[in-house]
């Protein structure tokens, strides 16, 4: 790059090179000084400047761009890995400090700039010599900043100013040259490293007296003075929104006075006052009268035992005064009782909407699902509240037909149908459909979309817990639509799983099942039921390897044309499966696994092909005994070794039933 004027800070150069290449090309022939003048007299894109000074480096962060100025290449080796995006400027000798300051000065000299934040800080190090070197660098840099600001004919515009400095006269001088029209936040902090601490330079009390008289101070909304404790009268802060200070000592009477003043300050939000002297509540005033003194009361929501709430008259807010050993805080809090859904501001409760949110939540909890869904329709604010609340969903059954969909929400049936379809003759159907709600779409309305919008409402709320979700369709095409739509609902949930205890699916294709099952919470899902004449051959491994299968307790699979390995069933409590064929050796394997299962209760296995069992052979190989005469002849018993329990095994031609007794 042939454009490299020596007096242009890298950040400006980079900004222009990266952001405004056309401009660079157009001024290639201009002299460097002219270019700088142009930059200085125009708005530059600085919003935040953070300076951190160390013993052999200066970090300057311009907006999001981090620049390192150092005089040792070794820093790149030592620290370069931390910030890959930083610009690095290495200059031999002390030139890096000047270079860093020049870069910052470009922003400070510009009258057009309004900085959002300007922060000056330093990095004290453990090593004594490094600390001293850092202090020297800081002195150099801060003094240059002060001289620049003091000698400029205008006050620099910045909103938040933060400085880590013990030289209070310098801080005052800098503050006086910041624009009172823009400054809102002011932070001063001192410098320490463990017990090492720089003493305050100047007469702290006198400087602070001058500081609070400046026009800048009266513009401030946020003040933080975390410094060697300085005694500043608390009334100097009562016009702030927030403040945090450290003082030598404070009395209860001062706290009460401050609280009473802050009660009348509508802008006030919070404050924290740290003291060097520890409160002795017992000596200052008998503690049990503290509430009376503060005219407050203990609130159950406050964890601190020394927190008292004082109501701000005619508002929904309170001041919470918290007393600690070496500090106290005053926070403005919203009264819980007045956490309203509506915008009413007076204290009287005229409508349900004026009730506190948590109260309405309890009322909604007491209602049944149907009422909860009706309440969603009552007002938007109620709907917003209900949508974040656990609703009383117990079961959802989806029954897809070619021209309509039945959905059962708990005991409430809803039929979604097209506007052209004749009414469903409910009377011809099972009595459970007797009170079905019919939702007929207006012309152009999408009944499928409507049905799944209601389903999505139920499924998307992560707090809902379902006892059962059943999906079935007696029409293959309608079934495919249902599974596709459900998959579209569930996919955006990502890793969030649906909490359902029992999942029943009538599927015609393996992928249909596998599009839903992974979205169900493993472990919470106790029971899986799959039916219909489906070939899971390609998907069986996926199914039995899934966490949902492994953590399930009950499985029922009807008319599944897929051989399931016996090993994949023995962890279950109950199972009922149809498999292609089962041999006596499989029964032996099954018996050996089931007798050691801690949860097994019963199972039944049907084979739809293969040879019928020879009961005598089964009895012999499995070591089964004939039961007493009142039991059926096909019932055999196996005594579990070292246990009182037995397995009752019923064997028929193509059917085996085993129960632990």
């Amino acid at each position: 790059m042939d454009f490299q004027p020596p007096d242009i800070p890298d950040v400006i150069r980079d900004y222009i090179l990266h952001e405004n290449a056309f401009f660079v090309l157009s001024i290639k022939t201009a002299i460097c000084r002219r270019f700088r003048d142009v930059i200085d007299s125009n708005y530059t894109p600085f919003t935040d400047i953070h300076v951190a000074i160390g013993h052999d480096y200066v970090y300057v962060k311009f907006n999001d761009m981090r620049s390192l100025y150092s005089h040792k290449e070794v820093r790149e080796y030592k620290y370069g890995h931390k910030y890959h995006d930083e610009n690095k400027t290495f200059i031999e000798g002390e030139g890096y400090l000047t270079k860093a300051f020049d870069a910052v000065a470009v922003a400070l000299r510009n009258q057009q700039n309004i900085l959002r934040t300007f922060r000056l800080s330093w990095h004290p190090r453990a090593k004594q010599t490094n600390r001293e070197q850092t202090a020297e660098n800081v002195e150099f840099f801060y003094e240059r900043v002060r001289l620049l600001l003091v000698n400029q004919p205008f006050q620099f515009a910045v909103r938040d100013f933060s400085i880590q400095d013990t030289n209070l006269p310098r801080v005052l001088a800098i503050l006086q040259h910041l624009s009172p029209e823009t400054i809102r936040k002011f932070e001063i902090s001192d410098v320490n490293y463990g017990s090492w601490r720089l003493g305050v330079i100047g007469d702290a009390e006198q400087i602070m007296e001058q500081m609070v008289e400046t026009p800048q101070w009266t513009s401030l909304s946020y003040i933080q003075i975390i410094h060697t404790p300085i005694n500043i009268p608390l009334h100097n802060f009562v016009y702030c929104i927030e403040f945090e200070i450290a003082v030598e000592s404070v009395t209860i009477e001062e706290i009460v006075r401050l609280k009473n003043t802050l009660l009348e300050r509508p802008r006030f939000r919070r404050c924290k006052v740290m003291t060097r002297t520890e409160f002795n509540f017992d000596e200052i005033i008998p503690f049990r009268n503290m509430g009376a003194l503060l005219n407050g009361y203990r609130h159950p929501a406050d964890n601190c035992p020394y927190t008292y709430r004082c109501t701000i008259p005619y508002t929904i807010f309170q001041l919470a005064v918290t007393l600690r050993d070496v500090s106290f805080e005053i926070n403005r809090v919203q009264r819980r009782q007045q956490n309203k859904l509506s915008n009413m501001t007076d204290n009287s409760v005229k409508s349900f909407s004026d009730m506190p949110t948590d109260v309405i939540e309890v009322i909604v909890e007491h209602s049944e699902l149907k009422e909860q869904l009706i309440l969603r329709k009552v007002s938007r604010s109620l709907r917003d509240l209900i949508d974040t609340q656990k609703l009383d969903y117990k079961q959802i059954i989806v029954d897809a037909r070619p021209d309509h969909i039945f959905v059962q929400f708990n005991e409430h049936f809803v039929a979604y149908l097209d506007h052209q379809k004749l009414d469903i003759d409910i009377s011809q159907m099972s009595s459970i459909y007797k009170y079905t709600t019919i939702i007929r779409m207006p012309p152009g309305g999408d009944w499928i979309q409507t049905a799944f919008a209601d389903l999505e409402l139920a499924l998307k709320n992560p707090k809902n817990r379902f006892q059962m979700i059943r999906i079935h369709s007696f029409d293959d095409d309608a079934g495919k639509t249902v599974y596709k739509k459900l998959e579209n609902i569930l996919k955006p949930f990502g890793d969030r799983k649906i909490h359902v205890t029992r999942f029943c699916a009538r599927v015609v294709e393996g992928p249909q099942l596998l599009s839903i099952l992974p979205h169900l919470q493993p472990g919470f899902l106790k029971s899986i039921e799959i039916e219909h004449n489906v070939d899971l051959a390609e998907n069986i491994d996926f199914l039995i390897d899934s966490q949902q299968w492994k953590k399930a307790q009950d499985v029922e699979m009807y008319a599944i044309e897929t051989p399931i390995p016996i090993e994949c069933l023995v962890h279950l409590r109950r199972f009922d499966v149809w498999i292609e064929s089962i041999e006596v050796q499989d029964l032996l394997k099954l018996r050996d696994n089931l007798i050691i299962s801690p949860i097994f209760e019963s199972c039944s296995i049907r084979s739809y092909s293969g040879s019928a069992f020879d009961i005598v052979e089964v009895q012999k190989i499995l070591g089964l005994k004939q039961p007493s005469s009142e039991k059926p002849q096909s019932m055999l018993l196996y005594s579990i070794p070292n246990s009182d329990a037995i397995l009752e095994i019923y064997v028929d031609n193509h059917y085996v039933y085993i129960e632990k007794a």
């Binding site: 203990r298 035992p305 409760v349 007491h366 009706i374 329709k377 009552v378 209601d454």
Partner: protein, 190 residues
């Protein structure tokens, strides 16, 4: 559930004074305050259960004298009831109430709301839960429009996008509409 209510008069040793927002003072037996978690905690913190502690009046800035009167009536009626259990299934789900409770809460809705607010503020769980159940029972079987009337709620939902049925006068479509399932009439009891 009903309990015998022996008459006891509070003595200076076993009572505190609470002051309602309109400045009226009520002498309250400490035994009654056990039903209110807020008052019980306050008494514990201030050690008002000790006889040698001077008991300053407790200001209840959020409760009017009428509400306090009503609450004391509740506290006295339930003075000898067993301690409230949060997970009492009977209380949490049933919509049947004692005759006394039905008469006690046979009040206009706005008074009910204020009483509920007061019960929440004083943290009287039995009263709070009972009013919540009463409120839930009052909306059971009602349509959205009826609920708005009963609970005095002004709707901000204008229409129903799926059915096109206007909830109020506005029938234009809205993407924020809600399904008609919530408008269905309640099935008669089987």
């Amino acid at each position: 559930m009903s309990c015998e209510e022996p008459t006891t008069s509070p003595t200076p040793e076993n009572n505190i004074t609470v002051v309602s927002s309109d400045g009226k003072e009520f002498l309250l037996d400490l035994k009654l305050t056990e039903q209110s978690e807020t008052l019980a905690r306050l008494i514990s913190n201030f050690e008002y259960d000790r006889t040698d502690v001077k008991k300053d009046p407790v200001p209840l800035g959020n409760i009017t004298s009428a509400q306090m009167q009503k609450i004391i009536e509740w506290l006295q009626h339930h003075r000898y009831y067993p301690k409230w259990e949060q997970n009492d299934i009977h209380y949490s789900t049933s919509f049947t109430f004692e005759t006394w409770v039905e008469e006690y809460l046979n009040i206009p809705n706005n008074e009910m709301f204020e009483l509920l607010n007061a019960a929440n503020y004083l943290n009287i769980p039995r009263l709070f839960s009972t009013i919540c159940r009463i409120m839930a029972s009052r909306i059971t079987g009602k349509s959205a429009e009826q609920i708005r009337t009963v609970l005095n709620i002004k709707t901000d939902v204008k229409n129903d996008v799926y059915t096109g049925i206007p909830i109020q006068e506005d029938s234009s479509s809205s993407e924020d509409g809600m399904s008609e399932i919530s408008l269905s009439p309640s099935p008669p009891p089987i």
